[in-house]
């Protein structure tokens, strides 16, 4: 591997600028003549807009323009799309309501944008926005999915009767029912997956530069996928044709899914800059706007039951899920509770029959879309809570019930689309159990009990699907785009290398790990390699970063391009060294003829490629190759997490005493970065399990709308993590990579909740297991049993 190649713990190249404050985020960019946008937002969850009065506001100092939704649609700006078509089980297409970037007739959630003010300074824009008078007729709102389907519920969109967007199913219902009819035991579980606010450190931001002479736009924005943003902005929102729109996603401070989507603010700033006739417009969300308008995550309620035969083998799994999609359908909102969720309901287990029914509904809340894990945490939470609940009901050890049902042979076709390609679930279970000293747990429980504390242990054997995904496959399931990735490797005449990638790094460390591929291949120091990403003028096209796809898909494209560069470099070297191409070897920055002392420096071959003085007959000069990589399958990271907690029955405060993660991510390029991804994922998963909760009141006001009320996990809430990996290579891509970006957030919530329910002795606990909720659960009963 070399000291900087594949498998090396190379420090992150990008960290110098990040930790010295030299990063360049969207809001750091300034343009002469720059104006500022401030949005007039609805204070009501549901209301009809009667009148917008801008008389006073438009006279205020610095104001260049105030625009509303009717003007926006009047200028031909298209409605916001959902990029994944899902059909109901009766074959009808999803019932999608219209979403205009500025509301035209109705506002449907608190924070819905009604108008925009463009002014010379931010203060002037805010002052004028406050002076815009909107006359609303307030309507009764609905905030939960259960209530939204009620007979008397307010109707949000004429397209969606009873607010139902679609009623979808997967798997064979009859066969599953038959399995239940024959079951020796049936275990039932109702389960809620709490709603989360994504909270990237950097709030969303957009900076539009409009060149009137060229009628050309440049948009700097906080995007995980600038090319997709450009495609959608031009093809659907008609702000400008693609060749007149450059999208740059510079340094981006975290995304977690929330920065995949193209939001109203970017669309409005592009349109308003031109309409107001100003050179540039900047908007940066304040933290309150982030809470109110970033797409939220999760928010499922499910009823599930699992059938077992007399040998405790699972014979059937049946689930009904209700998913709250908020007020409008965000870009990938339809895929999250369907193809990204229900396809993982087989977990790590051999389950012959699965049926899942998913209803999605509109409510007067901010749109819900993919958030770290996207559907897979919801599936894992359901499966893994079910397994532990079943083990308790059947009276067997949770580890043994799992082991008894593990899939042992690969490839394995599940009844819910996914075909698992490789894995060794027993290996990660064994590793995690050994690390946490599972067999000694009862001793530790007794010791805690002596101190009046309740101790519990819980596990989660998760599997998830990354590397999204073969384009034809996702196309057949309704995706509006292909999910390949592109790369270009540009070797300079002096031998340094630029790698242009369609992946986008917003915390993942691509500038380091992607460079390690080049280092491995040619033996160049990583500092001779520059990773270029996030600019539609530089990188031809790409699908961006989400779903832990940049390793499995993005790096595969780079590998393919490197193959081509290597092949051409070898041809050139063979010609220059008068040797057979097959005898050329590239190592440690040198190009040599195997078994001889004949060699050239890498830079000499590169220079040769560019001088063109001595190239093989007919060869084009230069050394630059591109590749597109379309994955052959999803990849399937899997692992086992075990959590041990101590609960203070007096206060409900739960302390994580130990947390063990044993993951199988396939090939690992940089273990340090992978550990960082796991740590971050675990922090988010534990955050969901014990702290984070987006709460709306009955009127649709977000109660947890700031850090005073939204509990973000902090360092002192978390233990030192014990992380390790086992490795089965992914057979589907050249490097054998599976992906590691979301596993921590996917696998951890059920481990934590299984541990706490073990401690308190019953299952009557909802996420998040905040001190209050745990205390209430203990006082609901079952405490004496647990404390024994």
């Amino acid at each position: 591997m070399g000291i900087e190649g594949i498998g090396a713990r190379v420090l992150r190249k990008e960290d110098k600028r990040f930790i010295t404050g030299a990063g360049r985020y969207t809001d750091d960019h300034k343009i002469a003549g720059m104006h500022f946008a401030a949005f007039v937002r609805s204070p009501h969850a549901y209301a009809k807009i009667k009148k917008i009065n801008i008389k006073e506001a438009s006279k205020m100092s610095g104001v260049a323009g105030i625009f509303n939704g009717k003007e926006l649609t009047g200028d031909g700006i298209g409605n916001i799309i959902c990029g994944w078509m899902v059909h109901s089980k009766d074959g009808s297409p999803m019932n999608m309501g219209a979403w205009s970037a500025l509301a035209t007739e109705y506002v449907r959630y608190v924070g819905d944008a009604v108008a925009v003010v463009i002014a010379e300074s931010l203060e002037e824009a805010q002052a004028a926005a406050e002076a815009v008078e909107v006359d609303y007729k307030v309507l009764k709102a609905v905030v939960t999915a259960e209530q939204a389907m009620g007979l008397k519920a307010p109707q949000l969109h004429p397209e969606a009767k009873n607010n139902v967007i679609f009623d979808w199913e997967i798997g064979e219902e009859d066969a599953t029912d038959a399995a239940f009819a024959k079951a020796a035991n049936v275990v039932e579980l109702d389960i809620r997956n709490n709603r989360l606010v994504p909270n990237p450190m950097e709030p969303r931001s957009a900076l539009v530069q409009y060149d009137a002479a060229e009628d050309h736009f440049t948009l700097h924005t906080t995007s995980q996928n600038p090319h997709v943003a450009r495609l959608v902005l031009s093809a659907f929102y008609q702000v400008a044709p693609e060749n007149k729109l450059r999208v740059i996603a510079p340094d981006v401070g975290g995304g977690f899914g929330a920065k995949i989507y193209i939001y109203p603010e970017e669309i409005v700033c592009l349109w308003a800059a031109k309409r107001a006739g100003v050179a540039a417009v900047k908007w940066t969300a304040d933290r309150s706007e982030s809470f109110l308008t970033d797409a939220h995550g999760r928010d499922h309620f499910s009823k599930a039951k699992m059938a077992f035969d007399k040998n405790n083998k699972i014979t059937g799994f049946k689930i009904e899920t209700l998913a709250n999609l908020g007020a409008y359908m965000s870009l990938f909102s339809s895929s999250v509770p369907t193809y990204l969720y229900a396809t993982l309901l087989s977990g790590q287990y051999n389950i012959p029959n699965i049926h899942c029914n998913v209803k999605t509904v509109y409510t007067n809340t901010v749109p819900v879309d993919a958030y770290r894990g996207a559907g897979r945490p919801e599936a894992t939470y359901l499966v893994e809570r079910m397994m532990t609940t079943a083990a308790r009901q059947l009276g067997v050890d949770p580890a043994e019930l799992r082991r008894n049902n593990f899939i042992q042979e690969f490839p394995h076709q599940t009844p819910v689309i996914m075909a698992y390609d490789a894995g060794d679930f027993g290996a990660s279970l064994d590793a995690a159990m050994a690390e946490i000293k599972y067999s000694d747990f009862e001793k530790r429980r007794k010791k805690s009990a002596k101190n009046g504390m309740l101790r519990g242990i819980g596990m989660s054997c998760y599997i998830e699907a990354c590397g999204i995904a073969p384009s034809a496959a996702v196309g057949s399931l309704g995706a509006g785009v292909g999910l390949w990735e592109s790369a270009e490797v540009r070797v300079n005449p002096v031998g340094t290398v630029e790698v242009l990638t369609g992946s986008h790094s917003h915390g993942q460390g691509h500038e380091t790990t992607f460079a390690q591929l080049v280092t491995e291949r040619f033996g160049l120091p990583k500092d001779n390699v520059q990773i270029v990403h996030g600019d539609t003028d530089k990188v031809q096209f790409g699908m961006g970063t989400y779903g832990s796809r940049s390793g499995a898909v993005g790096m595969s494209a780079i590998e393919k391009a490197l193959d081509k560069v290597e092949a051409k470099a070898k041809k050139i070297a063979a010609h220059m060294l008068e040797a057979a191409e097959g005898d050329i070897e590239i190592k440690d920055g040198e190009v040599m003829v195997k078994g001889t002392d004949k060699k050239l420096g890498w830079h000499e071959v590169c220079l040769g490629a560019y001088t063109g003085h001595n190239l093989p007959e007919g060869m084009e000069p230069g050394l630059k190759e591109g590749a597109f990589y379309d994955p052959t399958n999803f990849t399937f990271p899997a692992g086992c997490y075990i959590c041990e907690v101590e609960v203070d029955p007096n206060t409900g405060v739960t302390t994580i005493e130990k947390f063990v993660a044993a993951d199988d991510f396939g090939k690992i390029i940089n273990p340090m970065i992978v550990e960082g991804q796991v740590h971050g994922g675990l922090a988010q998963g534990i955050g969901q399990a014990m702290m984070e909760n987006a709460v709306y009141d009955d009127d649709g006001q977000l109660l947890s709308a700031s850090y005073m009320d939204y509990t973000m996990p902090r360092a002192d809430n978390l233990p030192n993590f014990h992380v390790s990996t086992t490795e089965t290579l992914c057979p589907g891509n050249p490097l054998g990579i599976k992906g590691c970006g979301e596993a921590g957030a996917i696998g951890s919530p059920p481990a934590v909740i299984n541990a706490i329910t073990d401690a308190i002795g019953h299952n009557n606990l909802t996420m998040p297991a905040s001190p209050q909720n745990v205390w209430a659960a203990i006082n609901d009963g079952g405490m004496a049993e647990a404390a024994e």
Binding site: E123, S288, N693, V695, Y707, D709, T711, S770, Q772
Partner: protein, 267 residues
Amino acid sequence: MYDTNYHRAKDAADAGKKLRACDDGMYLSGGMTLLPTMKQRLAAPSDLIDLTYIKDMNKIEVKGKEVTIGATATHAEVATHAKLAKVCPSLAGLAAHIGDPHVRNRGTIGGSIANNDPAADYPSAMLALGATIITNKRKMKAEKFFTGMFDTALAEDEFVKAVSFMAPKRGAYAKFPNPASRYAMAGVYVADHGKGDVRVGVTGASQGGVYRPKDMEKALSKSFEPGSLEGCKVDEGDMLSDIHGSSAYRANLVKVMAKRAVVAAAG
């Protein structure tokens, strides 16, 4: 933030004069509460009169058991004052756990008690320590000073200059932090002044703001041990309720924290 005018008060008299001279002025100390509110455009004072440049108003004096803390002493200064830590470690410990280092290095005791946030820590200590609040106009006992949530006896142009108290024989503060904000969700300050005089200040929990639970004080005055609190009842009906803690949960916390404070003080 709306436009505002900033003034620095030279001395106490100057501060009052400056405030009276402006339209809708407010005193400013650490700004840890006031500035975020202004940034959110929820407060719009025409003028700010900064008290923190008034000479010696941040002084902490300890003479035997007699403690005086100037209003602009920061939480960090209170937390790290060696003499104070000796005579009244519970107050230094309380200050050390307010907010985060930024907040502790800017926020002041005067600002905190003047704001009388129902979840703030200091008010409970002022009650339990039997503190006297010294303003630019008068002196009053803490009971008189705190008049309800976010409410004090301070007049328009009146400000806190200092607080003073006699250090108790023993004392402790037990705080249950709100998981999100880490302000007190139930904070109980127990001070044993000797000769059967035990005072208890409870913050974070009650709808009426900081208060003294008389039954707990009575029980502890008889016997200063956690078991004495067993029979005391915290009325759920008086408690705050929000997404982090129902009134029942808060009532429970008050009792649990009170016991823990007694254990810590006795220990």
